[in-house]
Amino acid sequence: MSPNATRGFSYEEPLLFELSRRGRRGAAIAAADVPLVDTRQLLGDAAAEDEVQGLPELSEVDVVRHFTRLSTWNAAVDLGIYPLGSCTMKYNPKLNEHVARLPGFAGAHPLSPPEQVQGLLELFHGLEGMLAEISGMDRVTLQPAAGAQGELTGIMMVRAYHEQRGDRRKQVLVPDSAHGTNPASAALNGYEVVPVPSGPDGILHPEAVEALMGEQVAALMVTNPNTLGLFESHIAPICDIVHRHGGLVYGDGANLNALLGVARPGDMGIDVMHFNLHKTFSTPHGGGGPGAGPVGVKRPLAPFLPTPVVVRAPEGGFRLDDDLPNSVGRLHGSYGNVGMLVRAYAYILSLGAEGLRRCSEMAVLNANYLLARLRDAFAVPYDQPVMHECVLSDRKFAESGVTTLDVSKRLIDHGYHPPTIYFPLVVPGAMMIEPTESESLESLDRFADTLLAIADEAQRDPDALHQAPQHTRLSRLNETRAARRPVLRYEPHEEGPP
């Protein structure tokens, strides 16, 4: 098998501050056409005495080379498969980047009067409607800036719903396979988090929920398909149980990419859910955001939506409405990560109903295909048909001492971004692989061939895996040292930059 990457033309590049040379400039400021003022005289002690701290002095060429070189040190979807489970690293169409930069979107101001931003308000209204149809929810807010803020918003609505009924519930149930954001979001709302064990088949069972359910439980948070890539097939009876005890069901939409046009959370009994536009709806992940985390609700929760909400104006068109007396309040300084909303809207329009369904079909087919190819060489803790992702483990390599971390680092040597590792926590040594629909058969085969070769190598030559990666600019990094002796900013050493 030929490697997917070879030693290339790679540059060393110091920190900006080490490149700094006194007097260099990368951007000229426009000439003043008004008189300059004496800042000390005007602002007194509030004005700085010293020069601005913390910034380097560089030319434009310095800056361009610096960040271009840095960029070459990153793995990225545009370079190859990025099978990070639960992150849905699908291809991000270039058109969406272009439309988000149109001056009418990128140059719009959140406090312009509504009649001056009708194009955007119409887009919001359209996107809310499309997300409602896709999810089977009744109303959608686009405001939350990421999935975790969506969770926070959703659980706030749950709390507001109960409180309005004079019902002060204390607990939120969270399955043991859930993302860490779920318990953290519940705790931020003042709830006690109670873990729900998943069954031996990796999914939730009604009895486990029934056993914990009662008048004290505000909600169950559930991710479907779950983080093992398995569809929660008891979801309907589980929702019934929660509802019977007066609770609500929160749906974590991180894995919605499996269900587009196939099944809808709203039809399963989910009361409130978030969408990750940067996952399912293809807005780029940006090295850690910005994302967007719209939230959909069923009608009984609509009065609690965060303000403002997009409404039709009596005089025609749309406006943002703050007058929602039972609202949980505002979550964002404006109306969320609007640039991401524009991209997601363009994505949905491009694909249409059929294209979205095709996405999920291909995403699920790709995950099952990879699982079929890898099943014999790797341990498969829950060996059953999966949805959009599959979870393997390092259990078969116990004797040779090869771990999931080793396998991941060896993948890097072959030019692949590793899967999500050591998550979900219910699988020791988990490797969570989500190929997405973007990968062709050839791409999947090459990736599977590589993993099979690594599995073989794990038995024959474990040291090669312990030493990986060896083809990267840097070898394995010492994370323990970073945490024990935190160095969190540049501090000039003995001889600073000239």
Partner: protein, 434 residues
């Protein structure tokens, strides 16, 4: 491929989904559209939004129209940055990690503090997270907030604190536009005092006095920066006693984009690092002793600590952080100072024109940076409409934001406001028709 998974039809893959839960119909969405069609439709929607490239622009109030050097988007658009994710695998994410480390270094310098994280969603949520952080550090639950905090940030703060047993106390605005003295509002239950700099109505607050007042009771001073460019001109808040400096850095090369995606930031003192929300990048070495960077101190975070994490934040505003890092690299210390001075000079010029123009007034005496309140005759809405007819977006009608000041406008001048445009603005506000 279907054969490879032992299936005949794609539909069979969805067997784990009970039949009654399947949709069984097509989604009611438009049919797929070509790139050409999507672009035409989006172009039409975009054309129906007023934007800063087609008007003389004086609207700020938390979102600022600054010039962005071309290299910022050219570099930040590189797919190696845009189509990567959180740098969980440091060996193949050094580009993102080093840029975050550089951002942390810049923001600690600008704020006068020792640690800074890898971004928050926006200035509003950064301020709310700062309050939560102060509550954890002090184990107190009372938050004192000046009226100068942006009303939307205040609303977000209220929202974040609603589920916790917290009390929020507001300090009113004084006559000159700065906050009234804080001391009376602070007590031994106070976790922090939040002071926005500059205040929503543009006035520069006395942070040293605020720090003294807060520290006298063992409370922390949180400074929320709404217009990050002011850091080019003002003394770093950390030097004046601020314990947490947070806020919005959209001004550093990020598009207005109707308010998002923007760039929340949060910096703090070294001793409080373990109470910080969000991602942190630290320096380390690889197995050959070469310098590299990794995500660190993750035991604070949701994916490790779950319900006991310092925050639920996961995905943040990484690409906006990159834009700001590139922007600040291009400007450098002298460029940022000059730009800030230019912004101030434009505002002072506009204020001087207001003073000499009959019918216009400056109701607040305190010095400001690049924003200020102007009193107009008649109604603010009429003045705004009159200006708009002449292609001028003349600021924010304060009626909904500071009813006591009506009829008045909050105006912002930046380097994009030419002297001629300011002259036209003043004439339009005074009632002259072009």
């Amino acid at each position: 491929m279907l054969e490879g998974v032992g299936r005949k039809r794609v539909e069979e893959l969805f067997e784990p989904i009970p039949e009654k839960l399947r949709l069984g119909r097509a989604l009611e969405l438009p049919a797929s559209a070509s790139e050409q069609e999507v672009l035409a439709h989006l172009g039409e929607l975009a054309a129906r939004n007023e934007n800063a490239s087609q008007a003389d622009w004086f609207l700020g109030a938390g979102t600022y129209a600054h010039f962005v050097p071309t290299a910022v988007d050219a570099l930040a658009s590189r797919a190696e940055f845009t189509t990567s994710y959180t740098p969980y695998q440091p060996e193949i994410s050094q580009g993102t990690l080093q840029a975050i480390f550089e951002w942390q270094s810049m923001t600690t310098g600008l704020t006068g503090l020792q640690v800074s994280n890898a971004s928050m969603y926006d200035g509003a949520s950064a301020t709310a997270e700062a309050a939560l952080m102060a509550m954890r550090i002090t184990r107190r639950s009372r938050v004192v907030v000046t009226a100068g905090l942006h009303p939307h940030s205040r609303q977000v703060l209220d929202t974040y604190l609603r589920g916790l047993e917290a009390e929020i106390v507001t300090v009113p605005r004084g006559a000159d536009g700065r906050s009234a003295p804080l001391a009376e509002s602070i007590d031994d239950a106070t976790a922090c005092v939040i002071v926005q700099q500059p205040a929503f109505l543009g006035c520069v607050e006395d942070l040293a006095a605020a720090a003294d007042a807060a520290h006298a009771w063992g409370a922390l001073l949180v400074t929320s920066i709404s217009e990050a460019l002011c850091l080019g001109l003002l003394r770093p808040p950390g030097e004046l006693g601020a314990d947490i400096v947070c806020g919005e850095a959209q001004s550093f090369g990020v598009a207005m984009s109707f308010g998002g995606p923007h760039l929340g930031f949060l910096a703090a003192r070294q001793k409080h690092v373990r109470q910080m929300p969000g991602r942190l990048v630290g320096e380390t070495v690889d197995s050959n002793g070469q310098r590299g960077f990794v995500l660190t101190l993750s035991t604070r975070e949701q994916h490790i600590r779950r319900a006991r994490a310092t925050s639920n934040i996961c995905t943040n505003q990484g690409l906006c952080l990159l834009m700001a890092t590139i922007y600040l690299s291009l400007l450098g210390p002298r460029g940022l100072r000059e730009l800030a001075q230019l912004n101030l000079a434009k505002a002072e010029y506009a204020k001087a024109r207001v003073r000499e123009t009959p019918g216009l007034s400056l109701p607040l005496d305190a010095p400001g940076f690049n924003e200020f309140v102007v009193g107009v005759q008649g109604s603010a809405a009429t003045a705004l409409a009159r200006a708009r007819e002449q292609g001028i977006v003349a600021g924010l009608d304060l009626e909904a934001f500071a009813p006591d000041l009506s009829p008045e406008l909050l105006l912002c001048t930046t380097e994009t406001s030419s002297r001629e445009a300011i002259d036209r603005l003043i004439a339009a506000l005074a009632g002259d028709r072009a």
